[in-house]
Amino acid sequence: MITYYPIQDYGPLMKGMVIGGLGIFHVFLAQMAIGGGMLLCYFEWLRRTGRSKSAGRFINGYFQALVLVSFVLGALTGVAMWFTSIQVSPRTIGVMVEEFHWFWATEWTFFCVEVVSGYTFLRYKDRLSAQGRMTLLVFYSAAAWFSLFWINGILSFQLTPGRWVETHNVWWGFFNPSFWPSLLYRTVAALAIAALAACVVINIAGPLEQEARRELVGHASVFLVPMVLMPFLGAWFLASMPADSRSWVLGGSVTMTMFMGIGVGASLLIGAYALGAFWYMKLSINGFTAALLCAIAFAATAGGEFVREGVRKPYSIRQVLYSNSLRQDELERLRQNGSIATDPYPLRDGLAYPNDQLRRGAMVYRFQCSVCHTYDGANGLLELTGTWTLDQKRINIAQLQRTKPFMPPFAGNAAELESLVQMLSWRRAAMPRSWPVSDDPTTLTKIQAWLDEVGTRPGVELMGQREALAPSEHGARGLEEISMGLQR
């Protein structure tokens, strides 16, 4: 029994854009907090050992910024991520919570340490002994890193659930194939972001002399050095990905490759600047340049997160849930019984459709497509299918996993598919007041043949299986008919 949820429509905005935008912002802030903790420990050590005269002033200013930006925005966007995930895919977040709630609860205990040690340091840092200050900073920084440790296992599970798929052992799911490269990569990224944020703070936090600024920037730039590991960690992460996912970012999908390029390019720019300017020549850096480098780091984060989200397709949890939140067994059942017959939520704009077939098509769109597509906004279906003939729509949707291997298989029966095709055509025709019902049994038989021929296995499994791609006799006949139709 499938649980149906009320599905919201965001107009021209794709749901993934909402969660993606918020997610990138949150990850950037969270990584700044994680690296920031370690950076503060380092500066406290410099202060204690007399290696830096200005470190004390910097710590006060940086921690203030960290609290205002990271504690406030970071914590709230974290909670908002949960709410947004529910908006986009309640079933996906439901599975994740069910499977990993003890790890999430463990992460929560680290959040508590982070907040208590952080606020305690902020409030009492001037009254604490050097040892007390360092202890609080170490607690804060360890708790922040461990929060990354726990959430990293949960998030990387979505792409590479590894042996969890066979064993259903939560530890296999947590320490999955991309766990370590992802954790180490994010740690290095956190250090780099913290260093760049430090350069901004050094320039805007009070009147520091040029020499003091130069000295502090020099110390902060130490945290950029681990970036030399990024190419290796990135390659390790790529190697840990499933082959099909890897192929998207290595040219198989232009968008994925482009975002990967942005991530890599932005990281390279920062790394090159760090090596050339901060580290080797010991140059100073002004606030604008530091802010610009932070913006480039944000672009790198955005590229990386987009790729991480995108390469999971056609799944939201690989081999568990498709991106439209259906399990394989559910999809197979829906092929037989239809996907919207028991959906309790009627259309909000039901009266706008000239007939029941179009209404049914709109419900199929809402249930199966609307999580990643809009009608005529971002990733709009009317645009994507705009030049297709009726029969092209039928076969391309019936064999969706062949049309694009990162699409999930169609999860309905032939009548629902025809409804969807008619609804898209009606919308493409500027929604006229009347529209004929398409109930030709031959058409439905043809669609059924296409559905049967491709089956319900995902496209990523069909890739590389050439025999599976060979059309059956029935399907070939359908293709011939289309071909002849096109010739006519």
Partner: protein, 373 residues
């Protein structure tokens, strides 16, 4: 429903219910501090009498009882809000295990509300820092009042949105209409007494929390100010307890038979009575208090125990009401499955370790501040 909460349920359901209630109680303490604290600041800055007092004696926000309370609350609110948000994560997690479908559906139906919660809380957070800033402190109290009003409005909105969401999650019969009508707001008479209860109850929690803060820092304040503040806190607590008891009574009157059944059954009735006992303990603790010296550690511990018992038991009654609307028996399998996944041991171990770390943080500060006391 035939046994005392949580004993009549299979152990996984009982475990998650207990964890939910305990973690929600921790969250409630911080949340109530924020809600009542922002109200006290608002009244303090905007009520004509209080404003006059503050404006006439610039150095004397610490010369009146209200001024002293406001200083403490203003100083601590941003940190307490941070703690409230963090504490809120755990009950939110267990809620999703317990009542996934209901919680998610209400969230989806009121999505606009939850999209707005984020900016509202961010604005409120920064307003609290602004109230603390030196720039604003030098200006007339009306400026502080306006900034506080913004923060309070954001908190009130958050409280209303959560209550509305909760009540909608209890009314499956309303989901379809709520969806089709695209209604921006879910209207149900149960929302207001519920919201009213939690807001008014928060004054009693704030009173005891601030009383502890003043007790710990008593050597830093003028004894006369402390006495005035203590009397204000007593009044705040008693008003809060009286009004929240009334709100609770109104709320149960509003419920129909099927909803009231579990609340008045063996499942929750003892907890309801215990909540009243907790209130009575608080009243008994506050009534004889006239000066700060009356607020001894022992008395404060007694009042705090009453407050904690009240919060915990009110949350159990809240769950009983939910069970009047949701057939929890159909969720037993989900809870059993959730309880079977690994990781509980890790949670327990890190809960203990991190509780020790938090204690170490507090003790290190306590040691550092000892000479000042």
């Amino acid at each position: 429903m035939n046994a005392l909460f949580p004993f009549g349920f299979p152990w996984p359901t009982a475990m998650y219910l207990t964890l939910f209630v305990i973690t929600a109680a921790i969250y409630m303490v911080f949340m109530q501090y924020v809600l009542a604290g922002s109200t006290v600041l608002l009244v303090g800055y905007l009520a004509p009498g209080a404003r006059r007092r503050l404006e006439k004696k610039p150095s004397s926000s610490a010369r009146s009882g209200l001024g002293l309370i406001m200083n403490v609350v203003r100083d601590w609110l941003p940190a307490i809000l941070g703690l409230a948000i963090t504490a809120g994560i755990a009950p939110l997690l267990f809620l999703q295990i317990l009542y996934k479908r209901e919680f998610y559906t209400a969230n989806l139906l009121l999505f606009n509300r939850f999209m707005l919660l984020l900016p509202a809380l961010i604005v409120a957070y920064f307003m609290l820092y602004l109230i603390k800033s030196h720039t604003l402190a030098a200006r007339p109290a009306i400026f502080l009042g306006l900034v506080t009003l913004v923060a309070f409005a954001c908190f009130f909105y958050t409280a209303w949105a959560w209550t509305e969401n909760h009540v909608l999650s209890l009314h499956e019969d309303a989901w379809r209409n709520q969806y089709v009508s695209r209604a921006f707001i879910y209207r149900n008479a149960e929302i207001w007494p519920r919201l009213g209860y939690w807001i008014t109850a928060s004054f009693a929690t704030l009173a005891v929390a601030v009383a502890w803060q003043l007790h710990w820092g008593r050597r830093l304040h003028d004894p006369a100010d402390l006495d005035l503040a203590t009397r204000r806190l007593r009044a705040l607590a008693l008003v809060g307890l009286a009004t929240s008891a009334t709100e609770a009574w109104l709320w149960q009157l509003w419920l129909d038979e099927s909803a009231r059944g579990p609340v008045l059954s063996i499942l929750a009735l003892p907890y309801g009575l215990l909540a009243l006992t907790g209130m009575a303990v608080q009243v008994a603790g506050w009534l004889p208090v006239q000066t700060a010296t009356n607020l001894t550690t022992r008395r404060l511990a007694l009042i705090s125990t009453g407050a904690i018992v009240t919060i915990l038991c009110a949350l159990v009654v809240r769950e009983a009401r939910r069970m009047g609307a949701i057939d929890i028996t159909v969720l037993y399998d989900t809870h059993r499955h959730a309880a079977q996944v690994g990781g509980m041991g890790v949670f327990i171990a890190f809960f203990a370790i991190n509780a020790a770390v938090i204690t170490a943080c507090v003790l290190s500060v306590e040691r550092a501040l000892r000479p000042l006391k």
